[in-house]
């Protein structure tokens, strides 16, 4: 049951009337209250039943973090009464649905569409909580309200801020392929084709044997290896929950992973994706050429950092067991946390590195660097010393990983995505994939 401001006004009128009634106050009160209750009850009974409304939905199902999505609810009124009142499409608070409620009039037998704009501030799935229909009677005094289910999910995808680095990295990649306008010889290691020498080509690339067979001078062209397999592994364990700046490590790692996936997709490599802590949280397997980025973005959207310790043994087992036997580049996005890595990952590394090339990428925290530079008082030095200790452990575990043949990319949140892309391009240039 709901009442409106009009009902309050009516009660106010009744109050004034009774106050002015003088000696017949008791009778006036009885009459006023009876009239008030009767009018309210009549209005409630005459209001169109909100329970009878039929709802259907359409609208956007996914958006990038930072964008807005629009969802629609169509309210169909199958009753013979006119529905007047208001409607609210309820979403979780972080979806920032506007407007919160809006007036609604649906004549009998017709339908109306209600628009709600969502601007989510959190990645992941936002589920509609229900549509509340409030129906007020013909006098506008009182009515009924009901919350009806109208399921809908809007998936908020990772923002992929590092997209802006993609053109620069792609041009570096093209340099490798020899397609660059600067006529620089492709530095790839895979033999591509023979073609006629043009002035400006590197004389070292002249294929003398082929030249001897034909008329003109023939040069070999090279190109980077293609069709290499890359597996991007996202660690969603407890260390990924820590916030660097205002964003969890996990989101920085996603950003870097997306840039790498986009780049590798353009370079002709096959990208697989996996998110793992103690079990597989998400997985995308490449199924041929073409960009996997969209599918990876979809798979990443609902991922949240889990407050469990990651299980590197299980991770290594999963990679070795289910991901085929071909050599691949495994890019593990995690934290260079000395304890977690030394106890978990390092003992398992030989099994992995003997078959695959492993690259560990981690986001370091500029706040720790700032702490390490604090000076002036003993308290500041204690903080600096604690930060130095953290940095020292990080350096030690980095050195340890490198000694075992692991590529390590350690950069702050601003630079982790381009640094990872550069590391990938360097590997490709060296032909180590």
């Amino acid at each position: 049951m709901v009442v409106t401001g009009r009902a309050v006004l009516l009660a106010l009128v009744a109050t004034v009337a009774v106050a002015l009634s003088g000696l017949v106050g008791a009778e006036a009160t009885a009459v006023a209250l009876t009239v008030l209750v009767l009018l309210l009850a009549l209005d409630i009974v005459l209001a169109a039943s909100p329970k009878a409304m039929r709802l259907s939905r359409d609208g956007d199902t996914s958006l990038r973090l930072g964008d807005s999505a629009t969802v629609y609810v169509t309210v169909t009124n199958p009753t013979r009464r006119r529905l007047r009142g208001s409607v609210r499409d309820a979403w979780p608070p972080s979806a920032h649905a506007v407007p919160r409620g809006q007036p609604l009039r649906v004549p009998a037998g017709e339908r109306r569409r209600v628009t709600t704009a969502l601007t989510p501030t959190r990645r992941g799935d936002a589920r509609a909580a229900g549509v509340t229909v409030r129906s007020v009677g013909p006098m506008g005094l009182a009515g009924r309200q009901r919350t009806l289910p109208a399921p809908w999910t809007v998936r908020t995808l990772p923002p992929f801020h590092s997209r802006r680095h993609l053109p620069g990295k792609l041009s570096r990649l093209r340099e490798l392929e020899g397609q660059h306008t600067a006529m620089v010889r492709g530095q790839g290691s895979e033999f591509d084709s023979l073609r006629d020498y043009v002035p400006g080509d590197d004389v070292r690339s002249i294929d003398w044997r082929a030249t001897a067979r034909g008329d003109g001078v023939v040069v070999r062209t090279w190109r980077p290896e293609r069709d290499r397999r890359i597996l991007i592994v996202l660690d969603t364990g407890r260390t990924s929950a820590g916030r660097v700046g205002d964003t969890p490590r996990l989101d920085h790692a996603m950003d870097a992973a997306l840039l790498l996936a986009a780049l590798a997709g353009r370079a002709g490599d096959r990208v697989d994706f996996m998110a793992y802590d103690r079990r597989t949280r998400a997985q995308v397997r490449s199924s041929g050429k073409g960009s996997q980025v969209n599918r990876i973005v979809e798979a990443m959207a609902p991922l949240e950092a889990e407050l469990v310790e990651s299980d590197p043994a299980g991770l290594v087992g999963t990679i070795l067991g289910t991901q085929g036997r071909a050599r691949r580049l495994v890019v593990l996005l995690t934290d260079l946390n000395a304890t977690a890595l030394e106890e978990g990952l390092l003992p398992k590394l030989p099994a992995l590195t003997s078959r695959h090339l492993l690259m560990v990428a981690a986001v370091n925290d500029p706040a720790v660097d700032r702490m390490a530079a604090e000076r002036g008082s003993a308290d500041a030095l204690y903080r600096a010393a604690a930060a130095e200790r953290t940095l020292g452990e990080r350096r030690r575990v980095t050195a340890e990983l490198r000694r075992m043949g692991v590529e390590v990319v350690d950069a702050d949140p601003e630079h982790i995505a381009p640094a990872l892309a550069d590391a990938y391009i360097n590997l490709k240039a060296q032909g180590r994939l």
Partner: protein
């Protein structure tokens, strides 16, 4: 594109998202009320304990229960040692007390301006010795016709007035008491009245005893001052008071202020309609609350992500160092950080022996190798871990070396 991403894991899979168990609702309710409940209980307890320590005494001029200077509790307590004192607050109660008391009774009347004329008449008609303390004019006329107030000498000084009066009469009660700090209103008995005046002042007597035809006496005292707690022990005040009230039963009449009878309160004065309008007013307020308070559907819950800074463990370790004053550990960490940064620049490997590092750094910076050695690789006890100032000095020296090696 044959393989697809596996379905998203169920959102409630992780332990920290486990929904609260049944029964924890009662627990939560108890948790939310226990602090206010404890506070209220403590408050009530304190108030009760405090109120146990204090006893409330009535206050007022010549009030028999009052312990303030202008009360008369001291006199009442003295009287109660060997006679019955009946404190009454109205003239009917006084008449009843007089009739119930024995033959040897004295009625003391204070503040009789609070009594109505007919009450004074009926009191005057009682067959009992009476003491009037500073009576009003109607009271004088009712009790002792013929005695008039002829002057007033308000004594100065408190608690002991500066003027003491001597009895100068043959009234044994006054003579025995001797000098007393009476005063106030002075009375003169007219001719034809069987009266004795004591404590003469300029224009009358401060105490007049009138003997009536029926054998009873009425004593008029010009002031209640001698009877108060403050002045009772001054001069002959106490003796005078006890002598005047020498009887087996003392009926002590201090009337309460007269109550207004038959007056109507604000509520009765309001028109009937206005009073009845409270009922629809309450209904209106209820509707107003319902109108403003009714929500459009339930609140939508949302599980929030954990918000923990990645530097949390580092901050925690800094706090530990600080609370334990772990200067040795801090110095070790600062040195290790310095060496980690410097040795690659010097072309040394990470596991270079101390001697090589000291030699190289000394060569590049021009420092004394012995000093450098104590700075970078001190012999225990570490000279830089002695106090905070030395730790600050260590950091400064390391920074200086790092700057020169840049």
């Amino acid at each position: 594109m044959t393989a697809a991403a596996p379905p998203a894991p169920p959102r409630d899979s992780a332990p920290h998202r486990t929904p609260p168990k049944e029964g924890s609702r009662a627990l939560r309710a108890w948790r939310s009320v226990r602090v206010p409940a404890a506070l209220i209980t403590a408050f009530v307890t304190v108030v009760v304990l405090l109120s146990l320590g204090t006893e409330q005494f009535p206050t007022g001029h010549l009030e028999p229960g009052s312990i303030s200077p202008d009360g008369t509790r001291a006199l009442v307590n003295v009287l109660e040692e060997d006679r019955d004192v009946h404190v009454v607050r109205s003239s009917p109660a006084a008449e009843e007390a007089v009739s119930e008391a024995g033959d040897d009774t004295v009625l003391v009347v204070f503040l009789d301006h609070r009594l109505l004329p007919e009450e004074l008449e009926s009191l005057a008609a009682l067959d009992v010795d009476t003491v009037l303390v500073r009576p009003s004019t109607p009271s004088l006329e009712a009790f002792v016709p013929g005695v008039e107030m002829t002057g007033r000498e308000e004594p100065e000084g408190f608690p002991e007035p500066d003027v003491a009066y001597s009895p100068e009469c043959d009234l044994s009660a006054a003579e025995a008491a001797g000098e007393a700090y009476v005063g106030g209103e002075l009375y003169t008995a007219g001719s034809g009245v069987d009266a004795v005046g004591c404590y003469p002042g300029g224009s009358g007597d401060a105490l007049v005893r009138v003997r009536h035809d029926d054998g009873t006496t009425t004593t008029v005292l010009g002031t209640g001052g001698p009877l108060t707690n403050a002045e009772l022990d001054s001069g002959g005040n106490a003796a005078l008071a006890l002598n005047l009230l020498a009887a087996e039963d003392v009926v002590w009449l201090r009337p309460d202020p007269p109550q207004q009878e038959g007056s109507s309160g604000l509520w009765e004065l309001l028109p009937l309609g206005l009073r009845w309008s409270l009922v629809p007013l309450v209904a209106m307020l209820a509707l107003l609350a319902l109108w403003r308070g009714r929500r459009m559907g339930a609140l939508v819950p949302e599980s929030l992500p954990v918000a923990v800074r990645a530097s949390e463990t580092t901050e925690g370790r800094a706090g530990l160092y600080q609370s334990r004053k772990a200067r040795d550990r801090a110095a070790t960490a600062l040195r290790a950080g310095f060496l980690d940064r410097v040795t690659p620049k010097l072309g040394l490997s990470a596991d270079a022996v101390p001697g090589a590092v000291v030699a190289t750094v000394a060569e590049r910076t021009g420092d004394d190798p012995a000093h450098l050695r104590s700075l970078l690789y001190p012999e225990p006890p570490d000279p830089y871990a002695g106090n905070d100032d030395m730790l600050v000095k260590l950091a400064d020296e390391l920074d200086e070396r790092a700057r020169r090696l840049r």
